[in-house]
Symmetry: C2
Subunit: 185 residues, 2 copies
């Protein structure tokens, strides 16, 4: 992330005690939002990953200083099945993104979450990937089913859900046609 938030938050000598509902740091989110309201250009962020082939269908993706994300294919697809495959990783990214949306927006609304689980599935036809026909090599559809354990009312949860689904970065990336440029160096 190239955007660094440097806005100073002025604190009282005796700051308010902030209860971090759902363990979410709403103050940090609010500080970022204020910084972007003050200077909209700061909303522009850039994200990166570096991937290196490791033989066969194995590879690993390095993101900042974190342990690389390992990748492989199942035996049936010619891999050695030592790690999730890329389309599974994509579903994982969607689920992890939705979690952030629910946690952030629940906290902002004062909704306490006891548990949150998301089951994701996607249908994909292998004909195009295997070169058997031209067409869509990607997911034909993706479904996420969200289970929330909370004392919030059904109406509150429905409003939370609507907010999350209309503001999800990975959700929007998948549901929209994104310009993807792949070039040989």
């Amino acid at each position: 992330m190239t955007t660094t938030v440097t806005t100073t938050v002025t604190r009282d000598a005796t700051p308010d005690v902030t209860v971090a509902l759902n363990d979410v740091d709403l103050e940090a989110v609010g500080t970022l939002a204020s910084a972007i309201i003050d200077d909209p250009a700061r909303g522009a962020t850039n994200w990166n990953a570096s991937v290196r082939w490791a033989g066969g269908f194995r590879s690993h993706a390095t993101i900042r200083e974190f342990e690389p994300i390992q990748s492989d294919e199942p035996h049936g697809l010619g891999g050695t099945d030592v790690a999730p495959n890329p389309v599974e990783q994509l579903l994982a990214a969607l689920g992890n993104c939705l979690v952030v949306g629910y946690a952030a927006n629940a906290s902002a609304r004062g909704i306490e979450l006891r548990d949150l689980r998301i089951e994701l599935g996607g249908d994909l036809d292998l004909h195009t990937f295997l070169g058997l026909r031209q067409g869509n090599a990607g997911f034909e559809s993706i479904t996420a089913t969200v289970q929330i354990d909370s004392d919030a009312t059904a109406e509150e949860l429905a409003e939370l859900h609507a907010k999350v689904t209309t503001t999800s970065p990975v959700g929007h990336t998948l549901a929209r046609a994104v310009p993807v440029t792949i070039e040989l160096a």
Copy 2:
């Protein structure tokens, strides 16, 4: 993956010695392709992930029996920064997917790869995610730059590249508008 390949490959008593170029199991890929040619319905696959919230913006995605993929957000976005965030994971999935495409198609063409690296980047404006305006919360654009170390000619590499970019499952998923259904259980 729900498709299980059960096609039997008949072997001679003295099988050919197969050199696994790039350590890719082309026989497995060929067996799968043959099975799908025989029964196109077997091209239909379904992939899954289960995500569970771990407090704050942390979560983990479980895929089959593998170690879960951890997720968090940077401090500036309100997280505790213990793992890559979901949009970074999405770039990782694209890079890992392209690797499979290059390795598979290079091997099928007899191109030996010495090294293969992919740098990925994506631009994303935070206004929508933060609720500051309506619009696209996702990546505005994604770029992958591929470095291949090989003795193949520039023309061979260009053909390989064209094949990979038109058959990438994650590439197509991102470049196309996929129906994404997110529902509360």
